[in-house]
Symmetry: C2
Subunit: 392 residues, 2 copies
Amino acid sequence: MKDFKYYTPTFVRFGKGTENETGELLKRFGAHSVLVIYGSDRVVESGLIGEILDQMDELGIAHAELGGVVPNPRLSKVREGISIGKEKNADFVLAVGGGSVIDTAKAVGYGLPDDGDVWDFYKKIRKPVTAVPVGCVLTLSATGSVMSDSSVISNLETGEKLGLNSDLCRPAFAVMNPQLTMSVGPYQTASGSTDIMMHTMERYFNREGNLGLTDMIAKGVVKTIMENTPKVLEDPDDYDARAEIMWAEALSHNGLTGCGGDGGDWACHKIQHELSAMYDVAHGAGLAAIWGTWARYVYREIPDRFYKFAVDIMDVEPSEDREAVILEGIRRTEEFFRSIGMPVSIRELGPDPDEEALNALADNCSRSVGGSIGSARKLFRDDFYNIYKQAL
Amino acid sequence: MKDFKYYTPTFVRFGKGTENETGELLKRFGAHSVLVIYGSDRVVESGLIGEILDQMDELGIAHAELGGVVPNPRLSKVREGISIGKEKNADFVLAVGGGSVIDTAKAVGYGLPDDGDVWDFYKKIRKPVTAVPVGCVLTLSATGSVMSDSSVISNLETGEKLGLNSDLCRPAFAVMNPQLTMSVGPYQTASGSTDIMMHTMERYFNREGNLGLTDMIAKGVVKTIMENTPKVLEDPDDYDARAEIMWAEALSHNGLTGCGGDGGDWACHKIQHELSAMYDVAHGAGLAAIWGTWARYVYREIPDRFYKFAVDIMDVEPSEDREAVILEGIRRTEEFFRSIGMPVSIRELGPDPDEEALNALADNCSRSVGGSIGSARKLFRDDFYNIYKQAL
């Protein structure tokens, strides 16, 4: 087992009607002037934003709003938020939405106390040393940003999609009411579930070898998603299934499923980020589209991990023909993705990149990761090209 | 799934040699004057205390020491710590040891900013509103106090052993080096493992019904203990096994294994506390001595939970004779306790209470829990008597 640090300071309030405690939580965490960030009109039309603003009014907490955050959230919106927040002397940023909204709020949190360009942090030109705290009211189970140290922002001017990891941005609190996710449609629900699974699987496929408790928790997260996603696709109002998925979301990306590992692989995330940057596809769906290809490309490097994954998580019968077991494990994972309406190839996902686009994707990915990435297998520019091509 | 809150702000630094980072962690968490608390001479003789004091000296952090904390830690020692800490204006309490030392440090943390009697908090006469922060360097895997909100203190004058739960005492940081537990002897190691298992099992046996992810994490914790305890009894220097147990310790009692449940049963803990208060027996060993009796006393009330426990965690073959499956699950748990050298009756534990003592234990337990306790089955004074008697 490798050494690790584990730090999840987020105060989680989970359950029915917990959004009614948002005002009290803001007060508890010292907010006086709050920038409220949201995305779709769904949260306005449902009355959620209005209720939360009312709570703040009652407690004498000042507020400003910024709506219109879109999936694969944009730097331009972050800059808009920083500008409004500075004008209002915001000392707290409240995200009401899913991962894109939370990631935007985190980026605004970095930018508010800083005089320079926030994109410098994402470009790793400068390191943030402080941040305005962020709280979340989660309305979509997907990215795990609700307890994570990461945010990912797209710069449409440069075509870059870059992530930044720092404990500074771990949310101070998270309001998690599974009922708020019941209006999320089937494609977005399935895409979110895929993202949740993948946050654990990225950490699972690493070179440290088989772990004990961490592997069992990883299995728990993946099984939870596989058992409950079909249930919510069948009945979107299934509270317990929505709750299981939402809790899995938080634990899958707060670090818990990586404790003792080597940090994880993360190549799939980076390969997918370029698809999202070029074609604006849903992140989880993009991951489903390439994972199987990636897995078949790298499994020979860490066969014990892929074998354990197949037998322990995908319930493949153990056999002396270990390669057959591994390949069956990969096939079952893709079969699950298909069963929840996810693509398992890039064309099924939507895009149909030609040779030039494939090369551009590979170049972009290589640049974005600084040449190479991967724990299971270290991948370089030509590997990215091969994976995009084989995943068509 | 029931609503819940989840809050584990403790910064965990886990791995080899991490005790060398203690000084830096104290600095990071704002300590200027530290009261260092420890128990046995083991931590002095090993040089650990000296190394940590040296780190503080190098960083200009003032310190005072309090040694001699014993298992079932005592109020008298807590008062001594508060007195020393006040004299030295301590703004941080560092526990170097296991659960007894950490619980003492937490109690001192409550007492330092308070002008009244700290025992008032444990008697629930007053509620603490603030506390001096606590950090831990863990040397024994057992109580889970390292990330928990609880501390349990014994008052020898009154014969009371009382717990106090509050987020105020969750440690600011925890240094967890599994190597520091290698010198712990077999009985104490096994007793610690039992305590770890029981923190999850107390939460598992509740009336909310079967959960998904939380149950899978609970299974992971119990399986981790059952797989790794025999390994460290065989080879005390098995790093990975020590590490798995240590990590299971933290997760078993930080709230994770109870998320979505009804809070848990906790009758076994209370029944055992009275044995410890009267006979000063090891907490984990005391739990092993009574658990099977308790389980057979209550299982009919929540048969689904006991059935799932038997099949899913104790690997009993499913059968239509559900009662036989349940009883086999209980038998296998006791068999495991025996296999690691733990008692499964009070006489095996050591004490041999006569009729008068049994009645005193039942009276004390009833008084300490305010009349009744239990989720699986609500137990009263005569139930406590029956369980003590049947567990003889």
